[in-house]
Assembly symmetry: C2
Homo-oligomer: 367 residues x 2
């Protein structure tokens, strides 16, 4: 009889306990807000008009500590999300952060902006990536959020190109992970799947997997993955490709998980601003390096990383805007420009490169 109602604390007792916790939470949250106000006043007194109320490195440190010491029952991600909102509200008390993002509203970029800055920030959609850059440069907003790596939509180049003509700094990154699953309704016959529904970009993301596993199934593009999931719910001969949320929402069964062709199917966004960010203890740095088109150019860029034990995470080459230098490399690596081995790398590359521009050193994405 361990499940009988009497073996649990009664509802009234539990609700009293929750009310008591809520009272304490409310006092503490407001105390935190007071401290944040004092921090702001203290900074303004010391720094004057140039005060940056938002400190990306400090926020990253706070969130990492919270996630490390978390004992549940809330997950580390969930508790970090709540603290992001609390910090966002405290910060907005002094002055709401203004953020421009690549719109329209409802896109992943808006999701990334809100994930990073919380709902206390004022966010405004822009119609193009270079508009986001211009708004930040003009000081109309404090920060911008732009996608930089996306396996399907190919927006990388616009963002990278915008850096060529900009003095803005990268202040942070946000990664949204997107997994795709093949799912069917409860009455389906998995061996008889003749039609697969999904959004066109999801079908594209899973093309190779589909070619290998369902070469003869018709692929039908739907307005969204959620629509696809809903459609197959009652059909026995069709399947949908969609994310975790849709499977859960429509009670579908997953025939295969993580079927996207690129193993790490995620979109990465950059936070751009006008401030340099001090080390947070777990940072990344992004560089833009221009090289003459001559034999060994690529090696000369890569070798210093190897020699000084700095871990490169990404390299992209882009045609130069000026036409004088044939290659522009965009390089991300782990570490901060304040550390000595990174400074050695930068010095070595600087001696060989036609131009070296540090796009920013910033905390690695926390969530």
């Amino acid at each position: 009889m361990s499940d009988s109602p009497s073996s649990w604390p009664d509802l009234a007792t539990l609700r009293d306990r929750i009310d008591d916790i809520d009272r304490q939470l409310q006092v503490l949250i407001n105390q935190r807000a007071e401290c944040a106000q004092q921090v702001a006043q203290s900074k303004m007194a010391a720094e004057g008009d140039d005060t940056h109320f938002y400190r990306p490195e400090r926020e990253a440190q706070v969130l990492r500590q919270i996630m490390e010491r978390n004992q549940g029952p809330l997950s580390s991600e969930e508790i970090a999300r709540l603290f992001r909102e609390i910090m966002s509200s405290c910060l907005a008390l002094e002055r709401p952060i203004k953020v421009a993002y690549l719109g329209p509203e409802g896109t992943f970029t808006q999701q990334a902006a809100l994930k990073h800055f919380g709902h206390g920030a004022i966010s405004v959609p822009m119609t193009a990536i270079d508009e986001v850059f211009r708004e930040v440069e003009a000081g109309a907003v404090d920060y911008g959020v732009v996608p930089v790596e996306n396996s399907t939509e190919g927006v990388i180049s616009h963002t990278l190109d915008s850096f060529m003509d900009s003095s803005l700094q990268i202040c942070g990154e946000v990664v949204l992970r997107i997994h795709q699953h093949l799912m069917v309704g409860e009455n389906s016959r998995p061996d008889k799947i003749s039609t697969i529904y999904s959004h066109a970009s999801s079908l594209a993301q899973c093309r190779k997997w589909l070619d290998a596993h369902y070469p003869h199934a018709e692929r039908v593009a739907m307005p969204s993955n959620a629509e696809a999931a809903r459609k197959v719910k009652g059909e026995w001969h069709s399947a949908a490709i969609a994310g975790d949320m849709a499977a859960e929402l429509y009670g579908l069964t997953r025939l295969a998980e993580k079927i996207e062709d690129t193993p790490d199917n995620s979109t990465r966004f950059l936070i751009i601003g006008r401030q340099e960010v001090p080390p947070s203890g777990d940072d990344k740095t992004s560089l833009m390096v221009s090289m003459r088109n001559q034999p060994g150019a690529l090696f000369e860029v890569l070798d210093p990383f190897h020699r000084h034990g700095v871990d490169m995470t990404r390299i992209e080459s882009r045609p130069s805007h000026t036409g004088v230098w044939n290659y522009v490399f965009f390089i991300d690596f782990k570490g901060h420009t304040a550390s000595s081995n990174v400074q050695q790398v930068l010095q070595d590359i600087g001696e060989k490169a036609a131009d070296l521009k540090i796009l920013g050193a910033y905390p690695r994405g926390v969530l």
Copy 2:
């Protein structure tokens, strides 16, 4: 010298204090989550499969208490928003609430859904209002969110009509207030405004005010109010109509505030579900009443409210679906069906009406 850096606690001290508060907050939030888990288990033991984990009346009471006792510095709205998120996370621990809303993503209806259920809920866009109803009826989602009153977009009728053929209950309401201001850039000549920019629907919302105050200014429709605000920033002979956020974002000056023609320019949304909600202490009830087309029909509907001291907040008449009854009235009033004077009203109307359907008694919108 009261503004000198030395008169403020130094940054390190303040940050230690914040870290200490954060530790306490984290413990308390997780304790709250544990209590919520126990509430859920206690309810499941008592109610079995029919358990409703989400109690709209309890949540409304908690939020009202928090707002009433709030002493700042965070505003009551902001602290309530944070508690909504904390409650949403605690609830999601047991089982995330699934919510269908009138899409697409990024609309006010999504904003209303997230405002009401917090970001711990799973929300899915539907393409039409009756689809939202069907998803809730089928049990695919727990709740639906649909707009019911909107001064410009005229969606009321679809929602009201959907209730005619539905057994769903109204479980709550959300009101989003939207104020419009006339704003100009810093170098403008307010006496020389020749062009006014805004989104078409905002221009429509302020038509009468514009006719009276700027009869000769050209009205130009823009893709969004934010675009309009941005455009006028550098122009001396033009003004924009936009909301608070745009004025703040672009540093514009407000020439006139709240210029919308309807004094309470807000959009109201209903939360629809399958459960009846007990009284929260500050509730509303919505009715659908069918009357024969005969002299005095309207009076017979209205009179009982007056006699029993019940405060009607809205009445709409709609053509009936069946064709047998000529009028269908949708009526909102303050109070809950559990109170005696409301029961008297219902009895009186019931005696005169061809049909009387209670659409729901639910907590008045808290935020």
